[in-house]
C-alpha cells in the first residue's frame, strides 16, 4: 500500500524548472531517502507534498486516494508532517505553545493539558523535550526534536525530514535514527533528505535520486552501494579531499586568550578558552554541539561580547570588536546560522558584496557593473545554482550556503573562522569547499575550523583541539589524533597535556 504517490510532478519558478515530471512513491512503513545535489529539487518536491508550493502539473495520491493539498493545513489533515530545512518555530514561545500554534479548533488553549500530551508523546517516541522550555533557549538539535514532535503531535503518519542530520552531531544522529526506527515500527513512513550517503545506506529502505529537477530513479538499499549512488547523483564515483603533507607553521595569527562568555540564557558557556592559530595551519575544533562552539564562533565573528579575555589578530586587538572592525581586520567568517546572517530579500549579487562595499563603490555610488561581474565570477567558481539577480531567500539551502562561503573565501582573508562550513552541501560542493579551505591555508591564512563532523576535522586539520563544557580539553597534532582519542576528550576525559601527548592512564 502506498502512503504517498506523486505522479508527473512539474514545478516551475519563472524560467527555471525545479521539478520536471517527477514520479515518487512512498510505501507504508518505509524510510525513503531523497538524494541529490544542491538545487536538484528535493526541497521543492517536498514542499509540494506539504502544501507549501503547488505543482504546475501532476497529481498526488495519499493512501491511494487522489488528494489536493492547498496548504500545510490540508497536509496535516491528511497525516503529513514536515520538518523544514529552516525551522519555523516561534522563538519567544514555549515548546507546548508552539505545538498548538495555528490550530483553529477553539479559542482557548488548555496549556497544562497540551504540556501533558507533549510529555507523553516525547516519552512514547523517545524524543526528549521539555514542554515548558522557551524555544529561544534551545539548541538547534533540540529545536529539531521539537519540530519532529510537533508533527507527531498532530498525528502525522508520513514524516518529511529535510536534511535533519545537517544540524546534528553524530551522537544526536544516532538518537534521531533510533527514534525513526521506532516510528517505522509503529507503521509511520518517513521521507529522509540527506547529503550523507552513509546515513542513507544506514537507515533507509529505498532511495530516490534527483538530478537537475529530474528523477534519476529509485533503488532499494539492498540492491545498491555508495559508488552507484554517487554516480547517480553527479555522474562520478570518487570523492574526498585530504590535507597533503605538513607545512612550516608561521607566526601566531589568531590568538584567543582566556575568553569567557555566556550563552543565550546568560549562563557561562565559555570558561577561559585559549587557542593559538598559526599562519598556514588549520586548527580543527572538535566537540559535541552545545559545548561552547556557537558562542566561540560568535565572539570571533563580532556578534557576541566576551565577559573577559582577549582576542588578537596579528597585532590588532579585536576583543569585543564590532563585525565591521572584524571584517576590516581581514577575518573571513562563515557563521553557523547562514540564513540569519544574510539578507534574504536582497539579491545574490548584493549579498556577495555586502561586507566589502568599499571595493564596489565609486565615490559613494555603487558600481553596478563591478557588482554584477563579481557575482557572475563567484557563481561560476562556487557553482552556485542561481543568477545574480535572484533573491537569496529563493535559493536552495546548499546554494544559500555557497553564497556565504563565496563571499568570505573570495576575499583572501588572513584568518578564517569556519563554523560547519560544509553543513548542507552535497558531496561535490563539500569537496570544493574543503579544497578551498586547504588552499587558504597553503596561502598562509590561519584557519579555525569548528565542526561536529570528526571525519572532516581529521581530514583537514593540522592540529585538533577539543572543546568540552566551555573549556579546551587539549590539543593534538593531526598525526596523533584518532577518532577514539578525540571521542574520549569530547566526552570530557580531562587528562591530556597541552603539547599533544595523551596521558598513559586513559
Amino acid at each position: 500500500m502506498h502512503a504517498v504517490q506523486m505522479k508527473g510532478i512539474v514545478k516551475r519558478f519563472a524560467d527555471l524548472t525545479a521539478n520536471d515530471n517527477i514520479d515518487f512513491d512512498l510505501e507504508q512503513g518505509e524510510i525513503h531517502a531523497l538524494l541529490g545535489e544542491n538545487g536538484a529539487g528535493k526541497t521543492t518536491l517536498m514542499r509540494i507534498l506539504y502544501g507549501l508550493y503547488h505543482a504546475d502539473e501532476g497529481e498526488m495520491l495519499i493512501n491511494g486516494t487522489p488528494a489536493v493539498i492547498h496548504s500545510p493545513k490540508d497536509a496535516i489533515r491528511l497525516g503529513i508532517g514536515m520538518v523544514t530545512q529552516h525551522f519555523t518555530l516561534v522563538p519567544t514561545l514555549s515548546v507546548a505553545e508552539n505545538m498548538v500554534l495555528g490550530e483553529t479548533g477553539s479559542i482557548t488553549v488548555n496549556l497544562p493539558d497540551v504540556e501533558k500530551k507533549v510529555a507523553a508523546a516525547s516519552e512514547r517516541f523517545g524524543i526528549p523535550v521539555k514542554p515548558q522550555a522557551l524555544i529561544k533557549h534551545l539548541s538547534v538539535g533540540e529545536r529539531q526534536r521539537v519540530e519532529i514532535l510537533k508533527a507527531l503531535y498532530h498525528d502525522a503518519r508520513v514524516l518529511i525530514l529535510d536534511e535533519p542530520t545537517a544540524v546534528l552531531v553524530p551522537q544526536e544522529v544516532e538518537v534521531l535514527f533510533d527514534a525513526l526506527v521506532r516510528l517505522q515500527n509503529e507503521g509511520l513512513s518517513v521521507i529522509f533528505i540527506s547529503h550523507h550517503l552513509n546515513e542513507v545506506m544506514e537507515i533507509c529502505d529505498r532511495i530516490t535520486v534527483l538530478r537537475d529537477g529530474h528523477s534519476v530513479g529509485t533503488v532499494r538499499k539492498v540492491d545498491t552501494n555508495l559508488k552507484q549512488l554517487a554516480n547517480m547523483m553527479v555522474g562520478r564515483e570518487n570523492f574526498g579531499v585530504t590535507r597533503q603533507g605538513q607545512r612550516e607553521k608561521g607566526r601566531v595569527e589568531l590568538c584567543i586568550q582566556g575568553v569567557h562568555a555566556t550563552d543565550k540564557k546568560g549562563l557561562p558557556s565559555l570558561k577561559g578558552v585559549s587557542l593559538d592559530v598559526h599562519q598556514g595551519e588549520i586548527l580543527g575544533l572538535a566537540g559535541v554541539s552545545g559545548n561552547g562552539q556557537a558562542e566561540l564562533s560568535a565572539v570571533l565573528c563580532g556578534t557576541k561580547k566576551t565577559t573577559s579575555g582577549k582576542v588578537m589578530v596579528g597585532d590588532l586587538n579585536l576583543t569585543n570588536a564590532e563585525p565591521s572592525a572584524v571584517c576590516a581586520a581581514g577575518v573571513g567568517r562563515i557563521p553557523e546560522d547562514r540564513y540569519a546572517n544574510m539578507v534574504g530579500e536582497l539579491s545574490v549579487a548584493e549579498n556577495l558584496v555586502l561586507d566589502q562595499l568599499d571595493q564596489f563603490v565609486n565615490r559613494g555610488i555603487l558600481d553596478q557593473e563591478k557588482i554584477q561581474e563579481n557575482a557572475k565570477k563567484l557563481i561560476n567558481e562556487f557553482q552556485i545554482k542561481a543568477s545574480p539577480g535572484d533573491r537569496v531567500r529563493t535559493l536552495s539551502g546548499g546554494n544559500m550556503q555557497k553564497v556565504m562561503l563565496a563571499r568570505t573565501l573570495s576575499q583572501k582573508p588572513r584568518v578564517v573562522i569556519a563554523s560547519q562550513p560544509t553543513r548542507g552541501l552535497d558531496v561535490g560542493a563539500t569537496d570544493y569547499v574543503r579544497t578551498t579551505l586547504l588552499e587558504q591555508r597553503d596561502n598562509g591564512a590561519a584557519v579555525l575550523l569548528l565542526s561536529e563532523d570528526l571525519e572532516e576535522i581529521m581530514a583537514l586539520s593540522d592540529r585538533i583541539a577539543v572543546i568540552y563544557a566551555g573549556r579546551i580539553m587539549g590539543i593534538l597534532p593531526a598525526q596523533e589524533a584518532t577518532a577514539e582519542k578525540l571521542g574520549l576528550m569530547m566526552a570530557g576525559a580531562p587528562t591530556l597535556d597541552r603539547k599533544g601527548g595523551v596521558d598513559a592512564e586513559i
Partner: protein, 351 residues
C-alpha cells in the same frame, strides 16, 4: 481548455505596483456608503473629488500646492521606513521645521532672497533634524521603540507652538495667535504669479529625486535597505547599523522639517497653530501607498493632494463635510495595506 488558478508565490513586480491602483476604486466603493448615508450621490461626489479639481487651471494648480508638503513628508517617511526605522513623527518634525523657519524669517531683516531662501530651507532641515534627534538617539542607544517616541514628540511640539504663539512670538497687531510676518527676503518666490504655487515644489521634486538616488544607487542606500530587510544580516556583514539608522532618522526628520519651512515661507508667511493639520500623518499614507519607492511616493503625494483639494470642492458643491477627504485617505491606507496580501499570490494559467 484553459483554467486559471491562484497559488501562493511572490507576485510579479508589476503586480505589486498595481496594488495601489486597485486600492483606489475599492476605497471609492467603500466610502460611497458614507456618502450615501449623507444623502449625496457618490458618483457626483467622486466627480468633484477627482475630476473637477483637474478641470480648471486654478484648481489644478491648487492640487500642486497641496501636494508640495506631502511630497516632502512622504519622502521623509519612505526614507526612514526603507531602513526599518518607523518614523511616525513627520508631523512633529514638520512643525519643528516651521518654527525654525519662522524664527529665521523673523530674525533676518533685510536679506536678499539668495541668502534668505537657502537659510529658510536649511533652517527647516535643521529644525526637523533636531526634533527627530531624541527619538533617534534613544533608539540606537537604548533600543527604545521609535514608534512611541516619535509619536509623543508630535504632541510636544504642538504645545511648544501654542506656547510661542500665545506668548513670546505673538504678533501684537493680529487678532489671531500667530507670529509676526517673515522678512520679504525669506519668502519663497512664486512659480506662477497670482497663485499659491511656490518654489517649494521644485525643492520637493528635487528631494524626491535625491532620495531615490541615495536609496537605490549609493552604498549608503544599500546599507540602509539591508538594515531594513534584516538587521542581523546587515550587522553581521559589518554594516554600522546604529550609525546608519541614526543618520537616516535625522535626515528623515530634516526632510519633514523642510516641508514645514515651505508652508511658512511659501503659503502662510508666519507661524500659525494649524500650519500642518496632519500633513505628517498623510506622509505615512503616501509612503505606504507609494510602496516606499520615492517615485511611487511622488505619484501618491499628487493623488492625496488631489483628494485634499477635491474634498473642498465636494464640500462646497454638495454640502458634505470636508472631513470626507480624511475618511477617504484613511480608508485608502487600510485598503492598500490589506491588498498587500496580494503580493503573496500569483494567478497562473493551467492547461
Amino acid at each position: 481548455m484553459l483554467k486559471y488558478k491562484i497559488e501562493r508565490a511572490p507576485a510579479p513586480v508589476w503586480m505589486r505596483t498595481l496594488i495601489p491602483l486597485i486600492a483606489i476604486p475599492v476605497t471609492f466603493l467603500i466610502t460611497s456608503i458614507i456618502i450615501l448615508l449623507d444623502g449625496a450621490n457618490p458618483i457626483t461626489a467622486y466627480y468633484h473629488f477627482i475630476i473637477s479639481p483637474l478641470a480648471g487651471k486654478a484648481s489644478a494648480i491648487e492640487v500642486l500646492v497641496k501636494s508640495t508638503p506631502l511630497l516632502l513628508t512622504g519622502a521623509a517617511v519612505a526614507f526612514a521606513f526603507n531602513s526599518g526605522y518607523w518614523n511616525i513623527g513627520a508631523e512633529g518634525q514638520l512643525y519643528a521645521g516651521a518654527i525654525a523657519a519662522a524664527w529665521i524669517g523673523m530674525t533676518l531683516k533685510d536679506v536678499p532672497p539668495i541668502i534668505g531662501i537657502p537659510a529658510m530651507v536649511l533652517g527647516g532641515f535643521a529644525g526637523g533634524m533636531l526634533w527627530a534627534f531624541p527619538s533617534a538617539i534613544l533608539k540606537v542607544k537604548l533600543n527604545v521603540d521609535e514608534v512611541v517616541t516619535t509619536l509623543l514628540m508630535n504632541s510636544i511640539v504642538l504645545n511648544v507652538t501654542s506656547f510661542l504663539l500665545n506668548g513670546p512670538w505673538r504678533d501684537p497687531v493680529s487678532m489671531w495667535p500667530q507670529s509676526p510676518e517673515i522678512a520679504a527676503g525669506t519668502v519663497f518666490f512664486k512659480l506662477i504669479p497670482r497663485t499659491r504655487l511656490h518654489f517649494g515644489i521644485i525643492l520637493a521634486v528635487l528631494i524626491i529625486i535625491i532620495t531615490w538616488f541615495v536609496i537605490k544607487r549609493t552604498s549608503f542606500g544599500l546599507k540602509m535597505r539591508a538594515i531594513g530587510l534584516s538587521r542581523e544580516g546587515a550587522h553581521f556583514a559589518g554594516i554600522k547599523v546604529n550609525k546608519t539608522v541614526l543618520t537616516v532618522a535625522l535626515v528623515s526628520g530634516g526632510i519633514a522639517g523642510i516641508a514645514g519651512a515651505g508652508e511658512v515661507a511659501g503659503i502662510h508667511f508666519h507661524l500659525i497653530d494649524a500650519i500642518s493639520d496632519g500633513l505628517g500623518y498623510s506622509g505615512i499614507i503616501i509612503a505606504t501607498l507609494g510602496g516606499l519607492h520615492p517615485f511611487g511616493v511622488g505619484l501618491a503625494a499628487l493623488f492625496i493632494g488631489l483628494i485634499d483639494t477635491g474634498a473642498q470642492t465636494v464640500a462646497r458643491q454638495m454640502g458634505v463635510p470636508v472631513y470626507l477627504g480624511d475618511v477617504v485617505q484613511s480608508t485608502l491606507l487600510l485598503v492598500t495595506l490589506s491588498l498587500f496580501v496580494l503580493q503573496n499570490y500569483r494567478i497562473r494559467r493551467v492547461k
